[in-house]
Symmetry: D2
Subunit: 299 residues, 4 copies
Amino acid sequence: MDLSGIYPALTTPFDADGNFSAQDFKHNLHRYNQTDLAGYVVLGSTGESVLLSDKEMEAILVTAKEAAAPGKRLLAGTGAESTAETIARTKRAASLGYQAALVKTPYYYKPVYKPEVYLTHYRAVADASPIPVLLYSVPQFTGVTLETPEILALSEHPNIIGMKDSSGSVQRTVEVLAGVNGKFQMLTGAASVVVPSLAAGASGAILALASAFPEKCVALYQLYRQKMYDQARELQGKLALASKRVVSEAGIPGVKFVMDLRGYRGGNPRAPMLPLSEHAKAAITKVTASLEPAAAVTG
Amino acid sequence: MDLSGIYPALTTPFDADGNFSAQDFKHNLHRYNQTDLAGYVVLGSTGESVLLSDKEMEAILVTAKEAAAPGKRLLAGTGAESTAETIARTKRAASLGYQAALVKTPYYYKPVYKPEVYLTHYRAVADASPIPVLLYSVPQFTGVTLETPEILALSEHPNIIGMKDSSGSVQRTVEVLAGVNGKFQMLTGAASVVVPSLAAGASGAILALASAFPEKCVALYQLYRQKMYDQARELQGKLALASKRVVSEAGIPGVKFVMDLRGYRGGNPRAPMLPLSEHAKAAITKVTASLEPAAAVTG
Amino acid sequence: MDLSGIYPALTTPFDADGNFSAQDFKHNLHRYNQTDLAGYVVLGSTGESVLLSDKEMEAILVTAKEAAAPGKRLLAGTGAESTAETIARTKRAASLGYQAALVKTPYYYKPVYKPEVYLTHYRAVADASPIPVLLYSVPQFTGVTLETPEILALSEHPNIIGMKDSSGSVQRTVEVLAGVNGKFQMLTGAASVVVPSLAAGASGAILALASAFPEKCVALYQLYRQKMYDQARELQGKLALASKRVVSEAGIPGVKFVMDLRGYRGGNPRAPMLPLSEHAKAAITKVTASLEPAAAVTG
Amino acid sequence: MDLSGIYPALTTPFDADGNFSAQDFKHNLHRYNQTDLAGYVVLGSTGESVLLSDKEMEAILVTAKEAAAPGKRLLAGTGAESTAETIARTKRAASLGYQAALVKTPYYYKPVYKPEVYLTHYRAVADASPIPVLLYSVPQFTGVTLETPEILALSEHPNIIGMKDSSGSVQRTVEVLAGVNGKFQMLTGAASVVVPSLAAGASGAILALASAFPEKCVALYQLYRQKMYDQARELQGKLALASKRVVSEAGIPGVKFVMDLRGYRGGNPRAPMLPLSEHAKAAITKVTASLEPAAAVTG
């Protein structure tokens, strides 16, 4: 399974009552379907998965599967704190037609989550999963980092095919790809280092920013693949600045606001996250305006 | 509501199939009922709450309420990532007869959890809760710390009556108690600093260690209250060393193992946590043996 | 050697040209001599020691020795990054009549400063030193923490008699005092936890705040020793709030400004530290005013 | 001034008595002179500068200037904690013929080193310096990070021409180069991300690893510049693994040991650093052996 390309980490739109809006979610997917995005990540961190009920997660998985165009690869975020729950979610995603599972590290009891815990956990999930598994390390949210020795050990499992690394550490990508045998694929989760990661051998990226700027993120990837390095670097710089303001600093409320600006259905985040202040909205509007020609404000 | 005294953070025993064992849970509570523990904390971090299903959480709340002796205060851990889910859990605990709710900080989207997020979240929960609310900051698991300015602001809410601080920062206790008006009560979650916290004005402690050594933890509290400071300090030293090995380093698997040693129903933790290695068991057995006279190995 | 009591970490006054002012330094010491301070720490972190030339350090050591009243214990900060330089400074302080050396951890090459490095370093210094040595851990500046196992190992050296711990971790004090054999003495460097540290068995405190508020810091110690716990706790709370604003947040520029307010010779810090802004001065003036009766603004 | 290329961060060899060995230092430089290294960094972190006396630093600067081949650019590490001392060192390096100064961040009083402190410090140094200044951020040693907004502000100073970033954050390089106007040059200090940094627009690298493997580090740079990306990536992977073991984990003792293995004069580090254990030597010998063909063990 070739994971190369750009995937948006899909957001979850809520209606006026705060419930999941399947209609808005489909609206977004139908527009994304018209781009060269490689596929979709459903129920990732950007999808507010930790704020959703089991029932809502089921509805989102079903809706995305229905709305995604046939050629788009479908990855489901299935990581829970408990190994058993992670396996249950992974099997459910597989049965709904998802092609791979993105399994974030457990993280709550971090003082006792020694490397052996991660090895045992991921092997149990990969053994039980009907579909390929990707490791997922996102230290800015979890406070834990999947280190290179564990990644290399896990890369030998036949059902673990790659990793999403949201740490922004290009060094990790270099180290892992230097150490693995064979086909293990790295995807970066940091829009600020897509080009450096590709230069290090990464296969692509899973980006919150791609929910708001899918074409720009795809263009970045394609410029690099077409060896147009100067243009790639220039666009990388612009996207890094936008990503810092929108994704790193403003978070999901920021991503959703920019989606609204660009004709997608972003909307408000779920509490405890707060909508952006007017001040933050103005700052973000300014930053993102610089990303596109005056006449091309719609996606 | 006077919170003073020692509370164990109850563990969750599982049966041979890995399911919640109400029988073992009651066994523990019946023994705790015979001590001078002030009450019980149900579904705290030590209770593996983040590894439990909604159904299991309900069963545990019901069982603890049934098994607890009448005089024991009952505190329910009700904090979830989402504000709405936290409120729902808090209302359910209240309806089951719990006297207060212990609400840990949301923590996943920590880059955007600015102080305003915590103020809004806790006020919403406290407004909606039929029972008093305690703030709960546990940075070793969550990676976030509730800071003094937010605590002071929240202490003014009439339905927020205190805080469990598991950071081990006695400075926080000093600062908060110097800054609050009136009756806000601090409970430490760190067995290593019970005496210093009491000296700083804390009302008591909620301790994982008290699940394995309830009498020792109660004795520590009583020695201090009876102004037997030298004996209190000596016992504090011993409990600090035991707590470091058992709670901080070995975590829930360590606490459960010592419970087994002392005639309680500890058992295995749920995956991804792993049972202790034989080596770790031997080390812990040695440490805890030093806590009690040779003839008194049962609680 | 009994270290009990309160020591100010002396500041270094500079004249209008930015040179060390022996005159101002003596002015401060002459006033401190009239208090019940146990002694003085010369060339500590608060003394801007890392910003001084060798010649300046020599002048400060000589001046403090001359100006200190006979009964005051004299401790010299002698820790340098290199072991050899630390030994040289320690010998020099001893030859000038200092009674003990306060040796902060080396810290620059922290990735390779494993426990064995600290054990070897401190043993070499203690072996070579003509005067007793105190360990000094100050993670807020150095980024490294001396951990309990190393402290306990070093406490067995006959010439290592105690430790200044500026981490604010009362847990460390509890652990160390529970683990040492015999006479090892702990001094806290955190004004916010003097009472809890004394309750944990500490011998006293070395405080930047005592350079500005020597009587208040001494009073705190004496109230505790006289078993006036309620009054001690009340004063502890006030000093904790002042220390947070003045020492933790404003740093040496803050301490020096409050010294100026109270009739000592504080003055400006050396660059790269910047003098306080007018805004910060106003805030600090307000905080510290609350510490004393209206009529008693001079020390 | 074009900084492009690879620079070794020179080590400081000591003789049997622990004194600086000018002879050994020249031996190394004479060999380096025969490579395509762009120049030398003298008195950097790798040079154990924080463990040297003023007199030793002077001797090292003089010796390097004498021994360096004419075409090699000479950069002097001149950062001290104090602004005045930094300026004095910078002027001295300039007077000795050094072409640029590498000025690491002050770091000891980090709680009060707000952005304004760094702006004021660096501007004062750059104003006073007769030679161009490079910022130097090395958080693994200092515990502080120069952030993008400060870097961008400082990049506007006419005498600040670039930065060495040893954090390994390729994101920083992307952000800075996207934000600066004109000619500001980034050099990475992390051997693990040379290729990704070049892909992000960096001009080159200053590497401890280049003291032991100058040809390999130069080859990496040249492969990239010659657009031989696959070979560059492959060599990058090998050097990343070697750098992790030798530089990140074993530190200066590791770098010096590998220098010894390869015919340079490495020798022992100065205390408190300890020489490598036999176990560590064996592990490193194995790692570095994999870097070169069996017959080519001399540099």
